[in-house]
């Protein structure tokens, strides 16, 4: 096994249990001793370092969290700064800052781990791992022990933080969905620590290296690709946009040119008000209100998978897409998504490649 992780990326080690992904990760900070081969950090071998000094520079978060039951949240978070001999005042400020960053209330500082919820403990564990601001993080199924709903939120929070902090992360999981969501790059391991493929999530989904990877990624990998693309990456339908008071004749003319049978009523800021029906167009001027609400309104930054979920939930075929200011930029339909799923052309591949890094 040999691969390189670019600084600031999340590299996910994924594979079935017993494939050695945790062992591989634990070699980075020498929790598992290296008998052959080498690991370089910034070009320097980890073997040249004293293990405890090396470890203080590498954040370490594990599934069972391993908070110290006898220490308060503040003392737990302060573990590595204390080892490094930071002055008390700096440690206190850092703990307060980390509680904020991890969206934990300050009064938790004096509590003991047993008094926290599972999600809070997880966040304290991550806060403790980043306390001394290590440039490298090792995370072994850090979100494995929390319920799926909380996990989704904690994952998003972590990705949001990672967007600012740009740590180099080695992330171990057995969950391919988590790997695709969290990873900038994914290393798929087979039994015996064999590297089956090392690629971006998009590459992995579009061109698995072998049967093992294809199997591991799953039969629904087409669906998984929806998590890699954002709504704005799709060639959206052009909506026939009309404003209250426009001539209905003009609205009818727009319908003829568009992909949609109904015009979308928008306000002066371009925000969607609703879909106009035949009856709404009976008068000479477009009315103030539309017959049908324009739900769901889709955010151009959502991933396609959640956009599809929103459409299905509203039991509708299409919905207006808005930009950050809330103005309509187009319409996404279930039909467009299914076209995307069916398409195999290189243009789509490029789009996925581009989007994959951010997804």
């Amino acid at each position: 096994m040999s691969f390189e992780v670019p600084a600031g990326d999340i590299c996910v080690l994924v594979g079935p249990s017993g494939c050695g992904k945790t062992t591989a990760m634990r070699m980075v900070n020498r929790m598992v001793s290296i008998t052959a081969g080498d690991i370089l950090l910034d070009g320097r071998s980890v073997m040249d370092r004293k293990p405890h000094e090396l470890r203080r520079e590498i954040g370490y978060a594990i599934q069972q969290i391993g908070l110290f039951p006898h220490e308060t949240v503040a003392d737990n978070i302060a573990t590595v700064p204390k080892l490094l001999g930071w002055p008390k005042e700096r440690i206190r400020a850092r703990v307060a800052e980390l509680l904020d960053t991890a969206s934990l209330p300050q009064e938790l500082a004096g509590r003991y781990p047993a008094q926290l919820s599972g999600g809070q403990r997880q966040r304290v564990g991550v806060a403790r791992a980043v306390a001394a601001d290590p440039s490298i993080m090792l995370m072994d199924e850090p979100f494995g022990a929390i319920d799926p709903i909380t996990r989704d939120r904690v994952q998003n929070e972590f990705l949001r933080l990672q967007g600012q902090l740009r740590k180099t992360v080695v992330f171990v999981t057995h969950d391919i969905d988590e790997a695709i969501k969290m990873g900038d790059r994914i290393a798929v391991l087979k039994q015996g620590g064999v590297l089956a493929q090392y690629a971006t999530p998009a590459e992995l989904l579009l061109s698995p290296a072998d049967d093992f990877v294809e199997d591991f990624v799953g039969a629904d990998r087409a669906l998984k690709r929806l998590a890699l693309l954002r709504v704005r990456d799709v060639d959206l339908w052009k909506a026939p946009r009309v404003r209250p008071g426009d001539a209905t004749a003009q609205a009818r003319a727009q319908i003829a040119e568009s992909d949609l049978p109904y015009p979308l009523l928008i306000d002066s800021d371009g925000k969607p008000l609703g879909w106009l029906s035949e009856r709404d167009l009976a008068a000479e001027r477009v009315p103030e209100r539309a017959d049908t609400a324009a739900t769901p309104v889709l955010d151009q930054d959502s991933v396609l998978r959640s956009a599809l979920a929103e459409l299905l939930e509203e039991d509708t075929q299409y919905g207006p897409v808005v930009d950050a200011r809330g103005s309509v930029i187009g319409v996404l339909s279930v039909e467009l998504i299914s076209q995307f799923l069916a398409s195999k052309d290189t243009r789509e591949m490029d789009a996925v490649e581009r989007a994959g890094v951010e997804a």
């Binding site: 203080r56 520079e57 069972q64 039951p69 006898h70 080892l83």
Partner: protein
């Protein structure tokens, strides 16, 4: 105080006090005689207990730390301290007297030996009770082996260690009542000095029981102060 003296004193009182003459429970007599007869032996008894438990704790804790690092030592240490524990205390005093003489030292050596097994086992169990993930996280964050021991394992072992200390202390209060056989004094000398006189037995025996309760209570308070996280769990 020799047996004869005790006997003589009792005789004097018996001539003047019917309650005392009948070997009854006599509050007046207790009030009049308490400070002269019982205070010094009480403090001697306390001294025996504190010195023995402290010495036993130091030795057993050190052995526990060593055995925690070298697991194979646990068996032999439990074996040896277990044998010490089974020797009848009076026999131990008599065996030691030719070597260490009649007095405090002999009693303390024997009493200390009795605390070793209990404290040692609790120290070892306590150090093992650290959750694996806490130990793994500690090492993964760069604590050295010594730091893991003193900052994680020992604090987390405190509840177990205190449990051992409490049993050892209570047991030693009782055993120290036999220390007068080794010439070390204590409340035992008074109890056995006049087993027939109820007032004497109640006061001397009662002081032993009170001492056991008091020391146990102090240890419990110390444990609560030193292990705040244990109670936080229920909060």
């Amino acid at each position: 105080m020799s047996w004869l003296e005790v006997f003589a004193q009792v005789e004097i009182h018996r001539r003047t006090d019917t309650c005392v003459n009948q070997n009854g429970f006599c509050p007046d007599w207790i009030v009049n005689n308490f400070s002269d007869r019982y205070v010094d032996p009480l403090f001697r008894h306390l001294e025996l207990v504190l010195v023995s438990v402290a010495a036993g704790f130091v030795i057993a804790f050190a052995l526990g730390i060593v055995a925690h690092r070298r697991r194979w030592l646990v068996g032999p240490i439990v074996g040896v301290t277990g044998v010490l524990y089974t020797i009848p205390s009076v026999a131990a005093f008599l065996l030691l007297i030719p070597i260490t003489g009649f007095g405090l030292i002999t009693a303390v050596i024997a009493l200390t030996a009795y605390t070793l097994l209990i404290i040692f086992r609790n120290v070892v169990d306590g150090l093992n009770a650290t959750p694996d993930e806490a130990r793994d996280a500690a090492r993964g964050m760069g604590l050295t082996d010594n730091q893991v021991l003193w900052r994680v394992e020992v604090p987390l072992a405190l509840p177990e260690i205190f449990a051992g200390l409490r049993i050892a202390t209570t047991t030693t209060v009782g055993l120290a009542a036999l220390a007068f056989f080794a010439g070390a004094g204590g409340l035992g000398g008074l109890i056995f000095g006049d087993l027939v006189f109820k007032s004497n037995v109640v006061v001397a025996g009662g002081l032993c029981i009170l001492m056991a309760f008091a020391l146990d209570g102090l240890l419990l308070i110390a444990q609560r102060l030193l292990t705040p996280w244990v109670r936080a769990r229920q909060a």
